[in-house]
């Protein structure tokens, strides 16, 4: 979706908040949000793409006025309601529905170290041959997707070169909508700064783009 989250190339979005000796969390509640996300994730009712899309669906004016972990909090609660773990009424009132199901936590303290060390690769096996070769020129497709995509607006319609083949990876465009992983070949594609912005010769921008985002140039 063409949301405010897709901000590559914009100007006027404030200054860099540079801070010496920055703490990991500026407020204790921020750490609790990170932890709640992981603990709720153990229920397997969401995925990283659905999480990102829940953040993208925050209306633009709110997205821009919320802090980073406030946006995370929205995604955590959105996925909890969608996954049937809490009811919309419970979220609104932050009060338990006595008729609701009582469970046992999936992620106990003893399981945290294993969870933190666990892998969640997006790489998948594929027998399909790659459509594009290293060095080949490709055009990022000019599409406007209503749902989730990882094809930023700033490269759409522009020509780049295939620089790397990462193998097949879970496709965010479907996974975010619980329509399956539908793995696709992922390529490292390099665009010149001149092609994208009329920028200085020699400078370049590289993105990781799925096969269906690209067409032969």
């Amino acid at each position: 979706m063409n949301g405010v989250h897709d901000m590559g190339g914009m100007e006027g979005l404030g200054s860099l908040p540079l801070e010496a000796d920055e703490p990991v969390f500026h407020e204790p509640w921020e750490g609790r949000v990170v932890a709640l996300n992981m603990a709720m994730g153990a229920w397997g009712r969401g995925n990283v793409d659905a999480f990102r899309h829940a953040i993208e669906r925050i209306p633009g004016p709110q997205y821009l006025s919320m802090s980073y972990y406030q946006r995370w909090l929205v995604a955590v609660t959105t996925l909890a309601v969608r996954g049937g773990l809490i009811s919309p009424e419970e979220l609104r009132t932050l009060t338990i529905d006595p008729a609701g199901e009582k469970r046992e936590p999936r992620l106990t303290a003893e399981r945290v170290p294993a969870k933190l060390a666990s892998k969640a690769p997006s790489l998948r096996q594929t027998d399909k041959p790659a459509r594009f070769r290293i060095g080949e020129s490709v055009r990022a497709r000019m599409v406007n997707v209503a749902g989730h995509t990882r094809l930023p607006r700033y490269v759409r319609g522009h020509i780049g070169q295939i620089e790397f083949d990462h193998g097949a990876h879970v496709l965010p465009d479907t996974n975010a909508h619980f329509q399956g992983e539908q793995p696709q070949r992922l390529y490292g594609v390099v665009f010149t700064a001149h092609e994208l912005w009329g920028g200085p010769a020699g400078d370049a921008i590289r993105l990781d783009l799925w096969e269906s985002y690209l067409e032969p140039a």
Binding site: E11, P17, E22, A39
Partner: protein, 208 residues
């Protein structure tokens, strides 16, 4: 500003320290989820402790120092960073698919995530506020030299910039150039010189 906490500032202005509304809401949500048996508060404590104390840029600094001192490791790192970094014991979340990109006198690499805030947690910890800021996400791809100037980084005019926009699950670690004057340092001494920002490409390491 994106990451300022106005609620907290107001609480301070009032000369007392009641919990900020955001904190209260998170606390109430946590209580609800605990009451429903969905989360274990001790597990939450352990996760927070991990991100506050166990992971961070020290991990990445060890990778960089090893790459500078061990050519065979550097070779493995450049070929398969995920496996090479796992040799040092750094795996886990947001570290499943890593690539190392080396700065040279000719090419300076800079990492960003324009769409959200993808970052190599396993080697750098959670990202700093500036990395997640709208200013960085929007400008790093269109004006990398201007952004670098704000970090006090002035590249030589002949150096080219390559910006890596983390649009998939591949995470990028910049290997900064080893500073001049560090020939006598061992791996540990070198690791102590490597800054977080230099491993994102937003910093360079000064000669000793």
């Amino acid at each position: 500003m994106e990451d300022q906490d106005h609620d907290h500032e107001h609480a301070q202005d009032a000369g007392q320290h009641p919990p900020a509304p955001k904190a209260l809401k998170v606390k109430a949500l946590e209580s609800l989820l605990v009451e429903k048996g969905l989360v274990d508060p001790a597990a939450l404590d352990a996760i927070v402790e991990h991100y506050e104390r166990r992971v961070g840029p020290r991990n990445g600094a060890r990778v960089v120092a090893r790459a500078w001192t061990d050519p065979a490791f550097r070779e493995r790192l450049m070929t398969d960073a995920t496996a090479a970094i796992l040799e040092l014991g750094f795996g886990g979340r947001q570290g499943d698919h890593l690539m190392a990109v080396e700065n040279t006198p000719e090419v300076h690499n800079l990492v960003v995530c324009t769409l959200c805030s993808c970052y190599p947690w396993s080697v750098l910890g959670l990202p700093p506020a500036w990395y997640k800021s709208f200013a960085y996400r929007s400008r790093a791809v269109i004006d990398p030299r201007g952004v670098l100037a704000e970090f006090g980084v002035a590249l030589s005019p002949e150096a080219r910039i390559k910006v890596w926009d983390s649009t998939a699950e591949i995470r990028y670690l910049v290997i900064p150039m080893r500073p001049a004057g560090t020939e006598g340092l061992d791996e540990e001494g070198l690791a102590a010189l490597v800054t977080r920002d230099s491993m994102i490409g937003a910093g360079v390491l000064a000669a000793r």
